[in-house]
Subunit: 104 residues, 2 copies
C-alpha cells in the first residue's frame, strides 16, 4: 500500500514492551511509525546505516554524537552511520516517523 | 547538525521555480524538507531508488503506481523503486518531509 493514513491516528502494533510500531519494509528503506511509552530509555547504541525522522507528537530527549535535544513535535533528526545515539521519553508517549537505510 | 527545528517553520531555500527545499545529504539517505507552491505538477517519473515521506501542511495529490490520493497533513507515502509516481499541488502550498535512498 503506497499511502498511510494520518500518522497521528494510525493503528500500531506491539513491537517491544512499551513500544508500538507499524513498518513498511522496502528493499533499501524502512519507514516506521513508532510510539514509545513514557519513562523509557535507550542508553545509546550505534549502527552502520543512517537513520532519520521527525517527532509527530509528545516529546523525546535524544542524543546523536555530542548533540542533545528534547524534541518538540515537528522537529527532525538525522543520525549518521556509526554515530552513537540514544533517547529517553519523559512523562508522555512520543510518536515518531522514523526512516532508516536497511542494514546491509 | 543532527537536529532540525520545527519543520513547519524551518527556513528553506529556492530549489526549483516554485519549490523551496532544505536537504541533509547522507551517505545513503537524503532527508529533505520541501515546500511546493500551489498549482504545480509532476506528471510522473520513476527512479531506481525508494522514497518516502509525510505531508506536514497543505495538501498534495499524489499517485504511486495505480494508487492515488489527495494527502492531508500527517499522511505518509512510500514509493517503491521503479514505481511511476507524480504529484499535483492544489490551491495552497504543500510542505513535506521527504526521504530517499540516494541514487547509486
Amino acid at each position: 500500500m503506497a499511502f498511510w493514513d494520518d500518522l497521528n491516528a494510525l493503528a500500531l502494533a506491539q513491537f517491544r514492551p512499551g513500544v508500538l510500531s507499524r513498518a513498511k519494509l522496502g528493499q533499501g528503506l524502512v519507514m516506521a511509525c513508532l510510539e514509545i511509552g513514557p519513562g523509557l530509555a535507550d542508553q545509546g547504541h550505534e549502527h552502520n546505516f543512517e537513520q532519520c525522522g521527525v517527532l509527530l507528537s509528545g516529546s523525546i530527549e535524544m542524543f546523536i554524537g555530542d548533540e542533545q535535544r528534547v524534541l518538540a513535535p515537528g522537529e527532525a533528526y538525522f543520525i549518521p552511520a556509526g554515530a552513537r545515539h540514544g533517547w529517553r521519553t519523559l512523562d508522555e508517549p512520543a510518536r515518531l516517523l522514523d526512516v532508516c537505510a536497511k542494514p546491509a
